[in-house]
């Protein structure tokens, strides 16, 4: 299996540096790009999909190089954050048109029917796109991205605006795609990455902070995530005093998850205990450190 290799990729808009010297190796499977808004994720996605060219650096995939964008477009499938085209057109007809734009010569109809089935839109194939729900439009978006069996699929903010049920369904679909190809998803929702990806990279202000296996990334916050139970009275003061990342209420007791280098002192009903950090904990820890 070929690997997507980014070496020292940078992008400047005048004096503004959107991406700075990003180097990554992305293997077959699901890969997550995590970062807050403005981290440079969308810029990187657009460079990967040849919509933008990098100011410097190199991107390669096997024998292919991103300095020949017309060749790259044959192996890329892209779903941007918002996708709502051809509202007047029926699902199947729109995908047939996209198949032509993508230059799929043979078995155009078969390829279209196959992706419709894959994204579970068979019942909606003759519906106008304008009549689809948000989740269905998102699935149509992924259908156009996978049409033509691209080797690299790039998905920007995959679950933005989806209800919880659709979010789960969409993540499952992405997981399935990751069995056959490289799928890169970019998001600021850590849960999306945890639920779908094996590996991830964290971007902040255009720089790559960390990359690697999801579990290894989680360990960055090892020894810094505490859990403590407090009464309702102490709940608000704890929120003010400590860096609380999450809270769960059981009867009148609040279980707080706190990010701290030291054990939180005088912290509630029970003494604080260290817990195994998740990717989200690690992400928040890194973001706190970076300010």
């Amino acid at each position: 299996m070929e690997t997507l290799i980014l070496s020292g990729v940078s992008k400047n808009y005048g004096k503004h540096i959107a991406l700075q010297n990003v180097s990554l190796e992305i293997e077959f499977g699901m890969f997550g790009l995590l970062g807050p808004n403005g981290a440079g994720k969308t810029t990187l996605m657009r460079i990967l999909t040849t919509l933008l060219s990098a100011s410097s650096g190199e991107i390669r995939f096997g024998n292919l190089n991103w300095n020949e964008p017309h060749k790259i477009r044959n192996i890329i499938g892209y779903l941007p954050q918002k996708f709502y085209l051809y509202k007047q057109i029926k699902v199947r007809e729109a995908l047939q048109h996209i198949a032509k734009l993508k230059g799929i010569q043979s078995n155009n109809d078969k390829a279209v029917d196959s992706v419709i089935e894959k994204v579970n839109l068979s019942d909606q194939r003759d519906k106008k796109i304008g009549k689809l729900s948000g989740g269905m439009v998102r699935r149509l978006g992924i259908a156009q991205a996978i049409l033509g069996d691209p080797k690299i699929i790039v998905v920007d903010e995959p679950t933005a605006g989806l209800d919880p049920e659709e979010r789960i369904r969409f993540r499952r679909l992405l997981r399935q795609l990751g069995r056959e190809t490289i799928v890169i998803i970019s998001t600021h929702i850590v849960e999306d990455i945890e639920a779908t990806c094996d590996k991830a990279a964290i971007l902040h202000k255009g720089q790559l902070i960390k990359s690697g296996d999801i579990h290894t990334l989680g360990k960055i916050a090892q020894g810094k995530v505490w859990e403590v139970s407090v009464s309702e009275d102490d709940f608000h003061s704890m929120y003010e005093k400590c860096n609380v990342i999450s809270s769960h209420r059981t009867d009148n007791i609040y279980r707080l998850r706190i990010l701290s280098e030291e054990p939180p002192m005088n912290a509630g009903l029970f003494s604080p205990s260290l817990v195994t950090p998740s990717l989200e904990d690690a992400y928040l820890y890194l973001m706190n450190k970076k300010g």
């Binding site: 657009r46 032509k100 734009l101």
Partner: protein, 214 residues
């Protein structure tokens, strides 16, 4: 893979906007019938209406390509940008010219006695070429059909109200009330083609460089 165009799809994707130029032609034929043989009314109506609507398809062809959320996806496909831009505008302009010839033929054969087909085909055809370029350029510049239409309305209304004196350098209207001899049409026709070519070329170059996505 090499992307191919599908112009019937482009037609459908424009929705109701695809039919507006046909409605304009029907209205103009009806008006010509109403004013039977009164060229002093018919020619100004044709000149001030028909060429302007040549911009219509140039604008609405690009709604999905530059204006709608996710249109950037289209630029990630292996289809050449000139095909998505210049080729589509060019094809729909040819349809518009065929529509014009049909309209002029009907008026020429049944609604007026004077020979109008060739002189008006030269006059309206070259003016339409100019306006198709205005539509293409304004859509590529503003990436919004609403703004492109505003440009079109502002240009046309100011030129018509001031009879071309407000911005004479880009005035392509002749404001004639009768059929001009072909020898008198070459100058204005060449001017329209020249200005149109500049607009088409500018729009094409800008379209190749679009980096701003919705």
């Amino acid at each position: 893979m090499k992307g191919r165009l599908n112009l019937i799809f482009d037609w459908k994707a424009m929705g109701v906007n695809a039919y507006i130029p046909f409605i304009v032609v029907l209205v103009l034929i009806s008006y010509s019938k109403m004013k039977q043989d009164a060229l002093t009314h018919i020619i100004p109506a044709l000149e001030l209406t028909f060429p302007v609507f040549a911009a219509w398809w140039s604008i609405f062809l690009f709604q999905d390509v530059v204006e709608e959320p996710g249109s950037e996806t289209l630029f990630s496909y292996p289809i050449k940008r000139w095909k998505l831009g210049l080729a589509r505008v060019g094809f729909f302009f040819i349809i518009y010219i065929i529509l014009m010839l049909i309209m002029l033929f009907i008026i020429d054969q049944w609604l007026v006695t004077e020979e109008i087909l060739l002189p008006l085909a030269i006059q309206l055809g070259t003016q339409s070429f100019f306006f198709a370029g205005v539509g293409f350029l304004s859509m590529v510049l503003f990436l919004k059909s609403g703004w492109a239409l505003v440009i079109l309305v502002v240009y046309t209304s100011t030129q018509v109200l001031t009879r071309g004196t407000l911005i004479p350098i880009v005035n392509i209207f002749i404001f004639n009330q009768g059929v001009l001899p072909i020898s008198d049409l070459w100058g204005p026709a060449l001017f329209s083609v020249l200005m149109g070519t500049i607009f088409w070329a500018l729009a094409h170059m800008l379209f190749l460089k679009i980096r701003h996505f919705v």
